[in-house]
């Protein structure tokens, strides 16, 4: 039964894609613009890429952002996994509802408020115990871990809630002590969730402007902060070049992930046929 797709549907689809992707395509095209003025086409050139690679400022901001993102993702995954385990596996403990609420609060808290309250915390701490001496990479990282952890906890919790708890019981039954069960069974079970959580935390941290602005100090400028300040000073096409590079990296990542997923699905399909045919 073949149904002719209506012209309306196709045009809606095209419009949707155009809305999403034309700005990005324009930006990529303009990154090869020779003109200094952003909206004026002055011929093809790669000079903004050269400028980009020679810009000390952009390199250090990128490096800082990546350092913060990697540290954040790692710590957020560790802490978030523990929280997720507690949420999904310890069924009855005192204050569980409060704990659940407090874990998910950062998800709904406006970033401005998170940023402001963390800034107040750091200032108070500095006055009381003299730490952190100056705000910068450390404070940004702590702030990012605080809110990224909540996302990881939710990812891990949903993964564990969906998983068959009898696997862990079976391991206990076969003589594994609880810590052994965690290592042998639970962690392999939630490993995909931990990878997803790490990537999510990494992205959130790399992307964050508002909280970083609040808790950073002089001399520590992350990439989003740099781009934002550049916009206020007047955009130069080297930002286009930077964005294009980021898009290429992200697109490569998505393509590789997609390829791996498809390969895994084909393998699963083969396994299923193997199981169905019996011996």
């Amino acid at each position: 039964m073949k149904r002719r797709r209506s012209i309306l549907l196709i045009s809606v689809l095209c419009f949707g894609y155009a809305f999403l992707y034309i700005p990005i395509i324009l930006m990529i095209i303009y990154s090869f613009n020779d003109s200094v003025l952003l909206p004026v086409w002055g011929g093809f050139s790669t000079r903004w890429y050269t400028t980009l690679f020679n810009s000390e400022e952009i390199w250090s901001a990128t490096l800082l952002s990546f350092q913060i993102a990697i540290t954040t993702a790692t710590f957020a995954t560790l802490l978030g996994t523990l929280a997720g385990l507690a949420l999904a596996r310890f069924r009855r403990f005192r204050g569980r509802t409060v704990f659940t609420g407090m874990i998910s609060a950062p998800l709904v808290m406006p970033e401005v408020i998170t940023g402001l309250s963390l800034l107040l915390l750091f200032i108070t701490l500095q006055q009381l115990i003299g730490w952190p001496g100056n705000r910068g990479m450390t404070t940004i990282t702590i702030a990012h871990i605080t809110f990224a952890m909540a996302y990881v906890a939710i990812v891990i919790q949903s993964r564990l809630t969906g998983a068959d708890q009898s696997l862990e019981e079976a391991a206990l039954d076969l003589g594994a002590k609880p810590f052994r069960v965690l290592i042998d069974i639970t962690l392999p079970l939630i490993a995909p969730g931990m990878v997803a959580g790490w990537l999510l935390a990494f992205t959130l941290s790399l992307d964050d402007l508002v909280i970083a602005t609040f808790v950073s100090g002089p001399g520590s400028t992350t990439l989003p902060m740099l781009i934002y300040s550049r916009v206020r000073l007047g955009l130069k096409p080297d930002i286009n070049a930077l964005a294009t590079m980021l898009i290429v990296i992200v697109a490569l990542g998505v393509i590789i992930a997609g390829y791996l997923i498809i390969r895994q699905q084909r393998q699963l399909e083969r396994d299923r046929q193997l199981a169905a045919t019996g011996e």
Partner: protein, 425 residues
């Protein structure tokens, strides 16, 4: 019954009757509450070594909770669990000499068949040669040899079931717990696996405790069955005890099918028992529906006026066409006839104490008939009122679709007084 010298020691088959043996698993006054809900309510149970014991009941009856308490996943709110003389009530699952086969099989998805089976032995610190030998022995037993390197998702349902069984058996537990072991298999595989399970249990002599909701499965597998309802045991006994001598209406209806006729006791006359039969009473009851007078022999104590229920299994009622019944002189005068000879001669069950039992006779019309091949089942509306379910074996071939007894035929139903069971609860 009269040839004890042909039988082995009755206690090896039925250890629960031997007062000299103490039970292997003792469940003493165990209660489990989840908040306000009482899943298991003050149950006592003794299971003996080498038994294949079935916990049977519908969903939510507490059978799985009881099994999980034996495994150590739940701690009883009250009461004690003793296994092989040791109090296991507070012992965590990883220190119990008990292994469990889960309903979902719970195979570790990231390990292959060999490593799944070896997991328990590795936790006990068993290494290299001994590990390999023991795992391979059990793999031989459940016939999984060509599949040792496969992951669980590369196996069929039956193969997974065997891996789960092997994994639970390889540590040679004192007790093997099986949670609905056959529920996930299709019918043909289920029957085959049932016998495999019984063979394995016989070979290893491990005590099995099986949880199931399938009464046929329990009847085939088990040495004894505990039927559970609402957190308590309704009856504990051998499959034959439970089927032939149900203690309550619930049991009579739950195990197999039974016609349940409620009525009132009209008369109760004690009868002196013989050497191998206890004293019984012959009770006349009047059914509530249709005022039919029925006679039943029972060892229960009842008095005239008591409200009781008469349970009679569909296969224990014999059904004949009205016309042929009239022509058959032996059955023509059923009441008080000296029919001892005809009963013994017609190949009834040996040991059937019939004497000169006045049979219960009812007349009726076939309302529905279902032909099931080896037997047919009938729903018969009796003239007195109650509708009875009756099954009859198809001893003669049905030719040209002409059934001996068919829809709307007039029939005569008879059953002897000791085929029916009198229930007071």
């Amino acid at each position: 019954m009269n040839q004890p010298h042909h039988r082995p020691d009755p206690y090896t088959e039925r250890p629960w009757l031997n007062p000299a043996i103490s039970p292997f698993i003792q469940i003493q006054g165990v209660t489990k509450r989840f908040g306000d809900f009482t899943a298991v309510n003050a149950v006592d149970l003794a299971i003996y070594q080498g038994e294949l014991f079935a916990l049977l009941g519908g969903s939510g009856c507490g059978k799985t909770t009881l099994l999980r308490m034996l495994a150590g996943f739940e701690t009883p709110t009250e009461g004690r669990i003793i296994i092989d003389g040791l109090d296991m009530t507070e012992v965590p699952p990883y220190e119990r000499p008990v292994n469990m086969m889960f309903q979902s099989y719970a195979l570790f998805p990231h390990m292959n068949v060999f490593n799944n089976i070896a997991y328990g032995l590795r936790r006990d610190g068993i290494k290299s040669d001994e590990l390999k030998r023991r795992v391979n022995d059990i793999i031989d037993m459940v016939e999984l040899n060509p599949l040792t390197h496969r992951r669980p998702h590369q196996l069929s349902g039956g193969q997974r079931q065997r891996v789960a069984l092997a994994r639970a058996l390889v540590k040679q537990p004192k007790v093997l717990l099986l949670d609905e072991p056959l529920a996930a298999l299709d019918k043909r595989l289920r029957e085959q696996t049932q016998f495999e399970l019984m063979n394995i249990q016989d070979q290893l002599g491990i005590t099995f405790v099986v949880v199931t909701h399938d009464q046929e499965e329990a009847m085939t597998l088990a040495t004894r069955i505990a039927v559970m309802g609402a957190g308590q045991f309704e009856q504990v006994g051998t499959p034959a005890d439970i089927y032939e001598n149900p203690q309550t209406r619930f049991i009579a209806g739950f195990i197999g099918s039974a016609n349940l006729l409620s009525g009132t006791v009209q008369d109760c006359q004690p009868e002196k028992g013989t050497d191998d039969a206890p004293d019984t009473s012959r009770v006349q009851i009047v059914t509530d529906e249709g005022n039919q007078l029925l006679s039943v022999s029972t060892d229960r104590v009842v008095a005239a006026g008591d409200a009781v229920t008469l349970a009679i299994r569909p296969e224990k009622i014999s059904v004949t066409l009205q016309d042929s019944a009239v022509s058959d002189t032996a059955d023509k005068v059923p009441d008080n006839a000296p029919n001892t000879v005809s009963n013994n001669g017609s190949g009834t069950v040996p040991g059937y104490v019939s004497g000169n039992v006045p049979e219960n006779v009812l007349w009726g019309t076939v309302q529905e008939m279902a032909y099931l091949g080896r037997l047919s089942t009938f729903r018969i509306k009796t003239d007195a009122g109650p509708t009875l379910e009756v099954t009859a074996p198809n001893q003669r071939r049905v030719l040209d679709n002409r059934h001996l007894i068919d829809w709307d035929d007039r029939v005569r139903l008879t059953f002897s007084s000791d085929s029916a069971v009198l229930l007071t609860r």
